[in-house]
Amino acid sequence: MRTVGPVIRRRNDEAAGALVGYLPVGFPTLDESVEAAIALVEHGVDVLELGLPYSDPVMDGPVIQAATQQALANGFRLTHGFEAVRRITERTDAPVLIMTYWNPVLQYGVDRFADDLAAAGGAGLITPDLIPDEAADWIAASERTGLDRVFLAAPTSTDARIRQAVDSSRGFVYAVSTMGITGARSDVDEAARTLVARLAEAGAPASCVGLGISTAAQVAEVLEYADGAIVGSALVKALADGGVEAAGELAGELARGTRPSEVR
């Protein structure tokens, strides 16, 4: 099974760290979202995070909301997520995580979802509105199938909750870099540096920082202290404005941040 841990370790050995790229499935179409994800990998994205469009995305900023609403309007179905994972993993070596709000998984059936994701070649799940406290079924299903599970940690998380996120996650812990929702910000919050240090102290094998990163310089800055940098809104905006080619180009630019000598 293709999981994210080995890739993140390898990229920290051979470069400054891993670049994680997010795109929603089905935007602007299913085919183009697959081609864009592949273009990201071809231009230097190490780990893919594929978002499943959802009707009530409380953690998403305006760029991603607009994209996922369009995907839903175009007829997105959950099965398209598995299809996208299969098509992408057939053509690239990058591990593919699904980012999904919890209700779609619950309705599909937690075990059935895990089985179908594993069968499609997926690496695991990022669950933005599922905290470990409520995740017993998913933890059991991911143990059984070997899928990664990525929980979130926030600057406001207590030490006990940081430990819980570390102990419950497999692959990496998603460090929310600002107290905000997704969307490019001019500065990646200093709070992220402290949060990653706290995660390391709690024994996290890997931490990736997301929410607010949009330039190669920010990727380089984050990778000074984190194992991975997660870019979402900026890539979605590039795809929306300039298509697959523009998304690939931005990925290539962002990937320079994993080679700090090139951005200094």
Partner: protein
């Protein structure tokens, strides 16, 4: 265990906290502040005094015999939350949460609103306590409740029309949660109903249960007995849980919640969550919700903005699951007829939300027959609904611009 003793985070299989980690600290802080406040007699006294000298509590009960003639001969008694300051039961909860906001030292409050009643109540409390206030309201609702938008702005609140999704209450909640995630250090979220993540379902219920506690004694004083049945409309369910709660352990008292049946529960345009939904997670809690096969929320419909919500509070889901309360749909048309009937027979113009409870009561009365006493939560007054009613009943002169 007594049913009244049930507290969060879980009500049977329902409730919990399905939220981003970024909100957990804020929910914990609020929950801990609330647990301490509950034990502090000074908090209870301050809230009770606000109820007496600001809201106008206790609200009266009114027996409505001319209306009741259409209800199969049952006695019908209204609990008059419509007479509260700001015009609905929403003020009960808002004053409690605004007091808590001051205790945890935050200076800004945000809220979602559907009909605008919770938004008006929150803007009112913010004015009273000197708090900064932002209200999120679906764009569809800002159009059909323009008067309440003006009221909130006059009270000093910023009203943000939400243009995402179905542009109604559920999307206003999404936007308020996004604001809270971003501004949690300074901001408290005054949630308007008994849905959402723990501690909201329990806390909002506790601030609303005064409705039933007063009414239970008032009905006994008037009739010498408990009512046969207690009825309320259910959107998120805060007025319903407020009036039900005191009666939960009175097994002989039947409890009925009336959901918005819209154009009919066999159409796609309704908001009858318990009647037609199935369990799932929305807005931080596991409860019944209207959703498709993939777990995408289905847009609800109701002529009443306050009931136009595809979810419902987890305690109602639990009361339905254990059979303690019964939930039935009431169509837009039936609610509007009941609104006019109460107005014409008793001179009381109810909110369209509350008119669903009245319509359900008319049908229930014919089932229970003479000898039954039905206590109805009249959760709000109809002033805000005049434009909707005027169009529905064709009350404007021809040359009226609308």
């Amino acid at each position: 265990m007594a049913l009244r003793a049930q507290s969060g985070p879980y009500f049977g299989d329902f409730g919990g906290r399905f939220v981003p980690e970024s909100l957990v600290a804020a929910l914990d802080e609020l929950g801990e502040a609330y647990d301490l406040a509950k034990l502090d007699p000074a908090f209870g006294e301050e809230l009770a005094e606000l109820g007496r000298s600001y809201t106008g509590r206790p609200s009266i009960i009114t027996e409505v015999p001319r209306f009741a003639r259409h209800a199969g001969g049952a006695r019908v008694i209204l609990k008059r939350e419509d007479l509260n300051h700001t015009g609905s039961h929403k003020i009960n909860n808002v004053l409690g949460q605004a007091l808590l906001t001051k205790r945890i030292g935050k200076t800004r409050v945000i809220a979602e609103t559907g009909a605008g009643q919770h938004g008006v109540a929150t803007a009112t409390a913010a004015a009273l306590f000197g708090l900064e206030c932002t209200i999120y309201m679906g764009e569809v609702d800002t159009e059909r409740q323009a008067l309440n938008v003006a009221r909130m702005r006059l009270l000093g609140a910023e009203v943000v029309p939400v243009t995402t999704g179905s542009r109604t209450l559920k999307d206003a909640i999404n936007e308020a949660m996004r604001d809270w995630v971003t501004n949690v250090a300074t901001t408290n979220y005054i949630f308007g109903t008994v849905a959402g993540p723990h501690p909201f379902p329990e806390m909002v219920r506790d601030f609303q249960k005064v409705i039933g506690e007063e009414a239970r004694q008032q009905v006994i004083d008037l009739t010498g007995a408990l009512p046969t049945a207690v009825t309320a409309c259910v959107g998120g369910g805060s007025n319903a849980i407020g009036i039900f709660h005191a009666f939960l352990d009175d097994a002989e008292v039947a409890l009925y919640g009336f959901e918005a049946g819209g154009e009919g529960v066999d159409t796609e345009r309704h908001a009858a969550t318990i009647t037609k939904g199935r369990p799932g997670v929305l807005h931080g809690a596991r409860s019944y919700l209207l959703q498709d096969e993939d777990g995408q929320t289905i847009e609800s419909h109701s002529i009443s903005a306050g009931l136009d919500y595809p979810g419902v509070g987890p305690e109602h889901a639990w009361l339905a699951a254990i059979g303690r309360a019964t939930y039935r749909p009431v169509t837009d048309a039936a609610a509007m007829q009941a609104l006019r009937l109460l107005t014409r027979t008793e001179g009381i113009i109810p909110a369209i939300e509350s008119a669903h409870a009245l319509a359900g009561t008319l049908e229930l009365g014919t089932e229970l027959g003479p000898g039954a006493t039905i206590l109805v939560s009249l959760s709000g007054r109809g002033d805000k609904d005049m434009d909707t009613a005027a169009k529905y009943f064709d009350l404007y002169d021809q040359e009226h611009p609308k």
